[in-house]
Amino acid sequence: MTSLDRPRISLLGTTAMLFEAPGTFDLPHQRRIWALAVTASKWPGIREAIPGITNLMLTFETLPREVDSLIAALNDGWDEAQEFAIGGREIELSVTYGGDIGSSLQAVADHCGLSVDDVVSIHAAPLYTVFALGSHPGYCYLGGMDPRITMPRRQTPLQRAGGGSVSIGGSQTGVSASPGPTGWHAIGHTRWTFFDPSWPTPAALAPGDTIRFAIDRVIR
């Protein structure tokens, strides 16, 4: 077995640990991450187990005296993790592509050697799965983007991007829930409330939910 087949586990200073699964960015791997999250969240000293994109962050309630046993537990947990198929709900989000908020639409088209219309139709085609929440309150990382519209993250992050912006970062896509800094490229926007701290569960969407983007219009 080569090292590529094994997870990567690293410290995030003294307050958290990161587990990165080997293999591809796909739903079967993500389902095993969700399973590992359920298991690891019950371990003593763990505050939260937070899925990322085929990875998992553990935050510490109490700092572990040593980290080797936690690393071993994560490795074992991954080997035992079965695919956890969460049956989420499906929502449709109406998107205005391009315009002021989606100002990188042309740049993504140029980078990928596609027309603006191609980028839009490729982006709106799949049924995306919410892989994880993160970044800022209510933000969802989506799996299922067509690799033809991959675009590397920005060289220097932007200090501020609009709320509701639909953007691409590397081979991932997502919708920002509020205005803020970003290293991604916005190609459109949507109006929808993703987060409200007064709701019993503050985020509208959860891992396992699915999203379909509907093309409202394309501003060139």
Binding site: S10, L12, G13, T14, I50, A132, R153, Q172, P202, A203
Partner: protein
Amino acid sequence: MIEILSALGPTSIQDLGRFDQYRFGVGTSGAMDDVALRAGNILLANDENAAGIEIPVTPFKLRFCRDMAFALTGAEVEAEIEGRAIPPWWRSHARAGDILSLKAMPRGARSYLTVCGGIDVPVVLGSRSTQFRGEFGGLHGRPLQPGDILPCASASCSIGELGVEPPDIMLARPNAAADEITVRVVIAGEYDAFDGATQELFWGGSWKITPQSNRYGYRLQGPAVKPISPIEKRSHGIVPGVIQIPPNGQPIIQMRDAQTSGGYPKIATVIRADMWRVAQARLGGRLRFEQTAYADALAAEAEMSAYLDRLRSDARLLEELRTCR
């Protein structure tokens, strides 16, 4: 109650933070210098998680609407009430109508005002800290403005004065130069993706804190630190202290209002016990990084705990002494 009379920078209400909402994309917020907030609350015999006001810019002015014990901790400030100088790291007493004025901040970057009982804004998702990005917590989820009235929990506090030794004396570490602060870091996931010469640049650098540094992150300026080949990580959780290297090679230290996840490569993470040092580093100042093993980071934590324990026991002893008399 307290009325804000003047606030220039992003002054905000913070407690120790919101630590268990990462799964909804909600970061910790909380006092950048949590040691200073704790010390202020210890001086007032408050719950150590009671909310205070984080003041990053002077001049700052507020009016106390009733008699109240308070403390200023964190940065060294020139402060006064009605012409009377108020020393930092000291418990003082204000009468109704008194105006507290912070005129200058000769050292450090953030001052904390704690009051007896704490600032009594509603607890949202487990904390009173201001979540700027989510626009909740604190006072309406935003920075404080002149005219804001802050509710204070009513609590009976001792009114005698009392001071404590600040951590920059008690937990002093050798810094290479004035206006340069050395912080300890544990190496992170992508450290080995940088070649030896580049790693040396990172350790050897005296990193300038640019004006684009704030509660979200400290953007540093120095030699370009670039991995052997470009890295695009899948998005994963990050915590305050993580030092990301965006493609321009200029490190960013994630701070309390940072995003909860990211994908830039991570070279190292500032240990929790040194985050207050970063929080008190000024714009234009310099940081240097010192590699630390996890076991040594735990020792630094223990040292921090011992310092706080000493404050707690000193404050308690002094109260007992007073009641005896």
